[in-house]
Amino acid sequence: MNEVTAFWILAAIAVIGALFAIRKRNLVHGVFSLLVFFAGLAGLFLLLLAEFIAVVQILVYAGAVGILILFAIMLTDRVTGKDAFRVTSRGSFWGTIIAASVFLVLLLPTIQEIPQVDNPSNSEEIVKQSTVKALGKKLIHPYVITLEILALLLTAALIGAVTAAQGGHPAKKKISIE
């Protein structure tokens, strides 16, 4: 009984968070409500006993991505300044139609995919699959190559970001005393 109530609460938090993220005029408020959405999502994952993914959700999304967006907002003063121009959406009608269609295209296959849970043993099996140790073993044995390629990709992206940020010329530009 209480799993269902917990589910509804968490789902409500997630949806409200997402809605505020879109509607809020003040961008910083938007980002914080986005973080609320991530927290709600992490709660849902916990409900599904997928601890590792819940942890990664908080660590990566709420912790890192949230702060990165805040940094981005902070550094571009045009967005947060008093006279920040307002992004007015014009084609809102067509926008909603496209969004709805994309949503349906994604959602339908996943709905068919859900395994009809009829025998409890099956769920026990699934739960054991998703513990951290099991995931660790799976990552190392069958998928070790994909892991390495991903690592390379990420470091390349990191180095690219650093050089782009520094604008290419060497360390701190010296401020001359005029």
Binding site: M1, N2, N26, V28, H29, F32, L35, E51, F52, V55, V56, I58, L59, A62, G63, A64, G66, I67, L70, F71, M74, T131, V132, K133
Partner: protein, 391 residues
Amino acid sequence: MNWELIKDILLATVPLLVIFPTMFALTTWVERKALARIQNRIGPNKVGVPMSRYGGKLSLFGLGQPAADGIKMLFKENIVPTGADRLFHLLAPILSLIPAMLVLCFLPLNFPWLTDEQNSVKAFMLDGAVIFFFAITGLNTLAVFMAGWASRNKYSLLGGMRAIAQMVSYEIPLVLSAVVVVMTVGSLNAGEIAKSQDGWNWFVFSPWGLAAFIIFFIASLAETNRSPFDLPEAESEIIAGYFTEYSGFKFALFFLGEYIAMFAISGLAVTLFLGAGDGPGAEAYPSLKVIWFLAKICVLIGIMIWLRGTLPRLRVDQLMSFAWKFLMPLSILNIFITGFAWHAENNNEEYGFTIKAIIWTASLLILYLTAKGLDKVNRANIKPRTYQYGE
């Protein structure tokens, strides 16, 4: 509603909510007294029960000070600067307290009054307890930024930006030094890590464990903005950093949040490196485990206070270069050394002690030399200078 689960959870969490805030009150008193003693003065002893009949006053050696601070904080008017973001100005201290409190319950404090089964209440003895710990302490950075941003004052903004930069860059050495322990134990569950260190083979006694502990301790100082790294609240440069505009109870909440975060992280350090709850009498009377655990936390807090009384503050760019150019390479090297040592030890069991001695000295040497080398590279021209004497 199954009351059984709720009873278990309450039994596990309520003691936390009682023990740690009282320890917070005591630590503020201990900190002020210890700092005073370091600086050759007496420390707070004025708060006491005024016994007007005898004219004097019963001074309880300053123990009344935390209570007095608490009451003072309650009655202070809390000011919200104009133009500040009222909602976030209020939310920031709460958000800084939630992760600190949440993280407390992952510590393997096996309370004596809980049966063994209840101790590992499903909700807390997670499989990935250690990662959960780091994920939630990451949220603390958000609270600091929210405070800095919401108070609309250039000092707190500067403080907030510094805090984010510091916390993000010190989280990596923190996590990497914890990886060493997780690797050797083979599980992320705090309970298992604690069990594997029973009987005095704490991790801090092995060279890579010691190096990891030192890196972990330094990084935890930075994570909770303590002593050499208290840049976000640097009095001399930016008045009080991100909580300049806070007064009254919101300031007290920040204060409480910082101290509970300090307990939580030193609790994790004790679990990972100092054999949580393991001490001379631990096997005989299991109830001693909690006492040992809290005692070790107090020792770590004592060292933090001692550091606060001695060391000056680092500058922002030195803080960054220390984390990225010194701690991180060292902790990565430490992971490699642990790997090799673990394999070397396990593969040739037959040589027994000699291999163990060789490995330990070799790893100690490598770690120390790389640390010296890194330090020389980072601070090439920084050394004490000599002076001439003119007639």
